[in-house]
């Protein structure tokens, strides 16, 4: 297994405001799989993603990525882990406003010793003609594509997407999902998508439902539908 999460717990607050967000999560994802984590608001799906991404410290449990334990790593260790293994895509794109599309991607190109080919990536993501534009000159979908390119350029083995289509219309959402599917196939990237969009589960290899901090369902999707054929996005 590429990703193994075991007995993961996370809580916030104390006393009256104490809330246990993750109540002992166990999860495994195979290398190169496309996995979706679904759940209602406050179910703990983003917390789980942040834990896997080393953005948030967990209370207990274990997260192993490619055989390496990341729970208990310090800030520097987590930083190295993210640098070497991860790509992140957020609902809000958080691009550097005064860098062009190409430059925004290049910021992360230098983080990897074996980055992907920039021009090829621009082409793959349909950004070639926009490469010299600033974020403010792009549509939401184009900005998200730029954010995906930025996450992919360093050729991460694990791509974590937190509501990647949350701020997009259905047509643009579909474009982005097609892209993620393409990236998954082309580069063999393991992708975890956190979403509350119910249609996305149809395009992935593995579906995980979280409710009240626990995994309610976890199954392999044997009838994958190409992203381009998804409906009701």
């Amino acid at each position: 297994m590429y990703l193994e999460v075991s007995k993961l717990k996370k809580s916030y607050g104390e006393g009256g405001s104490f809330i246990e967000v993750l109540k002992g999560i166990d999860l495994s994802v195979e290398k190169g799989n496309l996995c979706v984590i679904q759940g209602t608001s406050g179910s703990g799906k983003s917390t789980l993603l942040n834990g896997i991404g080393g953005l948030d410290q967990m209370d207990s449990g274990s997260i192993r990525v490619d055989g390496k334990e990341i729970c208990g790593l310090g800030q520097d260790g987590l930083s190295d882990y993210r640098r070497k293994n991860l790509g992140f895509i957020f609902q809000f794109y958080h691009l550097v406003p005064n860098l062009t599309v190409k430059e925004n991607i290049q910021v992360c190109e230098y983080l990897s010793e074996h980055p992907l080919d920039l021009l090829e990536l621009l082409e793959t993501l349909g950004l070639t003609e926009h490469q010299n534009k600033y974020p403010s000159q792009l549509s939401g979908g184009q900005q998200q594509r730029c954010a995906i390119a930025r996450a992919l350029i360093k050729n991460p083995r694990l791509l974590l997407c937190d509501e990647p289509t949350g701020a997009l219309d259905s047509e643009t959402s579909q474009d982005i999902l097609v892209l993620l599917e393409k990236v998954n196939k082309k580069y063999g990237t393991t992708i975890l998508i956190v979403t509350h969009n119910n249609s996305i589960k149809n395009m992935v290899d593995q579906v995980v439902f979280i409710k009240d901090g626990k995994i309610q369902k976890n199954y392999r999707n044997e009838q994958k539908v190409p992203a381009a054929q998804l409906e009701d996005l």
Binding site: S79, G87, L99, Q106, V107, S136, G140
Partner: protein, 776 residues
């Protein structure tokens, strides 16, 4: 990655050009004033020291009633010290001014030519430069002295007249009325033989001790050079000698000695005056520099914090992608460090240019008689001007940015989504606008504190200049107002009875140390009902009243102990301060004249000073010095004149810096409200209404900041000022007139109102979509 982010730096610089330009101008101005002031002071101090060494400045000088005889000279030479005759005669020039003529010196206090050369042939004369400047004399000109024409062969300086006072009792230099001149020895002898001098020849000897004797040992040796009273044909001396039974005044030994005056270089007001004068400039410059660097660091830190907060989500995302903290730290530090480095370098170069250091030295060159010194380039000043600003910026940023970037990644990413905790404040029904302004203030109270602190630091810089101004102004006005006498006569040979219309007094010059400087204090014995000082002195040898000038300079209060030192005679006098007399014209300790006579062991009718409200008929041969109210007025005016350019520069530069800082701080405040302002625009608020909501409330913040900042910065600067002027023997009256406080307060409000249109322009430029853009 830094290369790519570097592009962002350049674009950020372009996007925020006015802000960075303002900051750059502030650094340039600040470093310009600091470097020019301090470099000018260093140039004068080092130049004076080098000139003193090159021209063999004396260790001291002594005057004799009659010249030394061969045996006495031999006795001195045997000790290993060097003694040279610096005899002189005063001549009246054609315009009535006085030229003090000496033979050219060979060993001590050698003259140095700025133009031309020293006299080599008969009929040539070398003149002191300030006198020439005042009289428009150039080399090759001819002047008429003592019945002879002399050709000016050179113009320059001599280190024993660096401050060319005519008399040691003078309080101000007047080069239009007095200068020194050197001729060759045959010409000097010729002039002496013809006897056209204004008074008889003065027998002054300069000496170099060569570590063979101490001042005290030499003085004791000289006091043994005996003189028969009959050898002197001075009628006043003879009269006084007979009347007092062989006792000269307290400045001399009781036995009859040839020695009339013994003066070490340290106590000679004509030597090293220029270097002493600029010490205050150097202290002011360095102190202002420290304040400026703190201010600059502070402003930069505010900018950086603002930028980081604005870009929090981007930073968080970059972290999430694996960008390291150090990489971002270096990235955010780069621009402020480079900006301050470039601006500091420009400021330093400007400071060392003709518009800087040379301009700063003009006042000194127009008063003191010193050679044209080459500019002193000191490494520490380059470090101060070029390295310190970026180093301070880097250090501040390191602290501030590190703290900001240390936040957890999620906290950075979620900045825009966090719930801002607000204090629950119950506001009475005072209308929506007022309520909004108050709520806005509470929400932005940290920014308001930032504005206050920025204004406060800028006010501190302002206060240096303003305090300098009031100090000079008080010296000018108080010295004149407190001087009730028209004339003050100091006797060499007092008459038997006090001249009619005169008020007798008994004074000696003592020393007291303050902050490392040993300054003169006059202990003055007066009658309780004297009309010239409001000092109701009472009998008692251990009680004195002190002048308010002295009280402020030495930080003395009623009841304090006061020890004054008589360094000439190795004595100390201890007193209790019984009160403070409102007198700002000098460092005085007053005691009852009878008690003073007893303290000095003098007769009950002894006096050596007379004050009068009109000129008295006293033969000048009896007097050491005559001082007048006009002279006090003039010396006070000279003091102010010497400081004027410093004051003007400090006030103008600090005012400019204040405006820049206030504008920048308020702009940050507007920037922080950009989302909120854009929301108001979406709601349909008009420009005027937005101005009321967001800018008019700032007026209150500025007003409160000014109301608190002015007195606090004033109090702090008053506490620091004694250290900055520790070498100057003047009272420290730094009191601001209430109109000055009011003027300062109103000026700040006016400056704010002037900057409001600029801020309003910034507000108008905020697009209604700003709030949407931020939320994406």
């Amino acid at each position: 990655m830094q290369k790519i982010l570097g592009k962002r730096i350049l674009r950020d610089f372009k996007d925020n050009l006015p802000r960075y330009l303002a900051l750059g101008v502030m650094v340039v101005l600040g470093m310009y004033i600091v470097i020019s002031l301090v470099a000018a002071a260093d140039t004068i101090i080092m130049g004076s020291a080098d000139a003193a060494k090159a021209q063999s400045v004396e260790d001291g000088q002594f005057s004799l009633f009659v010249p030394m005889i061969g045996m006495e000279r031999q006795k001195l030479e045997e000790t290993g010290i060097i003694v040279e005759e610096h005899f002189y005669m005063d001549y009246e020039a054609e315009d009535g001014s006085v030229l003090r003529v000496s033979a050219i010196r060979q060993k001590i206090d050698r003259a140095r030519a700025d133009a031309g050369r020293l006299p080599e042939r008969n009929g040539e004369i070398f003149l002191e430069k300030r006198y020439c400047e005042e009289h428009g004399i150039f080399t090759g000109d001819e002047i008429w002295i003592g019945g002879h024409f002399f050709t000016v062969c050179g113009i320059g300086t001599s280190p024993d007249y660096d401050t060319p006072y005519q008399n040691l009792s003078d309080s101000a230099v007047d080069s239009s009325q007095f200068g020194t001149a050197f001729v060759n020895s045959p010409d000097y002898e010729l002039l002496k033989e013809e006897g056209c001098s204004m008074k008889s020849e003065e027998y002054v000897y300069a000496f170099l001790l060569n570590n063979k004797l101490t001042d005290k040992e030499l003085k004791e040796l000289l006091q043994d050079f005996a003189l028969s009273a009959n050898d002197l044909d001075n009628e006043y001396f003879q009269e006084y000698w007979e009347r007092t039974g062989g006792r000269l005044d307290d400045n001399f030994d009781t036995s009859l000695s040839k020695l009339t005056q013994f003066l070490t270089a340290n106590n000679n007001i004509r030597i090293g005056g220029a270097a002493d004068d600029v010490v205050i400039n150097k202290a002011t410059g360095l102190f202002a520099g420290v304040l400026l660097i703190i201010l600059i660091s502070y402003v930069i830190s505010v900018f950086v914090v603002h930028t980081i907060e604005r870009e929090s989500e981007v930073i968080g995302t970059l972290y999430a992608l694996g960008v390291k903290r150090t990489e971002l730290l270096l990235h955010y530090m780069f621009l402020p460090v480079m900006l301050t480095l470039v601006a500091g370098t420009i400021g330093t170069l400007l400071g060392y240019s003709s518009f800087g250091v040379k301009m700063q030295m003009q006042d000194v060159y127009h008063y003191f008689s010193i050679p044209d010194f080459p500019v002193a380039y000191k490494l520490y000043l380059f470090v101060y001007g070029i390295v310190m600003p970026p180093a301070a910026a880097a250090f501040t940023n390191l602290l501030v940015i590190h703290g900001k970037l240390k936040k957890p990644v999620l906290a950075l990413i979620r900045r825009g989504q966090k719930n801002v905790r607000t204090r629950k404040v119950n506001i009475p029904n005072i209308g929506f606008v007022r309520t909004f302004q108050i709520r806005h203030f509470f929400r932005e109270k940290r920014t308001a504190a930032t504005v206050f602190f920025g204004m406060f630091l800028a006010l501190l810089v302002c206060m240096i200049g303003l305090n300098c101004y009031v100090l000079c102004e008080h010296i000018r006005t108080d010295s004149v107002a407190d001087t009730r006498y028209e004339y003050m006569y100091t006797y060499k040979y007092p008459q038997e009875t006090v001249p009619e219309g005169g008020e007798e007094a008994c004074g000696i010059m003592l020393k007291k140390e303050v902050l490392g400087y040993n300054l003169d204090v006059t202990l003055l014995g007066i009658h309780p009902d004297n009309p010239y000082f409001d000092a109701s002195v009472e009998r008692g040898q251990s009680h004195v009243l002190i002048s308010s000038a002295m009280a402020s300079k030495y930080g003395l209060e009623t009841g304090d102990a006061l020890v004054l030192n008589d360094e000439e005679n190795d004595k100390s006098y201890a007193f209790t301060v019984d009160g403070i007399v409102p007198y700002f014209a000098g460092m005085f300790a007053f005691m009852e004249i009878g008690s003073m006579r007893e303290l000095l062991g003098e007769k009950e009718d002894y006096y050596n000073m007379v004050f009068a409200d009109h000129a008295l008929e006293i033969d000048s041969g009896r007097l050491y010095a005559t001082s007048s109210k006009a002279a006090v007025e003039k010396s006070a005016a000279v003091f102010v004149e010497k400081m004027w350019s410093l004051i003007i520069m400090m006030v103008i530069v600090s005012a400019l810096i204040f405006v820049v800082v206030m504008y920048l701080m308020l702009k940050v405040m507007v920037d922080r409200c950009a989302a909120s302002i854009s929301m108001m625009k979406i709601f349909g608020y008009r420009k005027k209404e937005i101005r009321k909501l967001y800018l008019d409330g700032n007026l209150v913040i500025v007003a409160v900041s000014a109301a608190v900042g002015i007195p606090v910065s004033k109090a702090l600067m008053d506490a620091a000022y004694p250290y900055m002027v520790s070498n100057v023997a003047v009272g420290l009256n730094l009191t601001f007139d209430w109109r000055m406080y009011a003027g300062l307060f109103v000026s700040i409000l006016i400056l704010y109102l002037i900057s409001t249109p600029l801020l309003m322009r910034k507000v108008n430029r905020i697009p209604p979509a700003e709030v949407l853009k931020n939320r994406e």
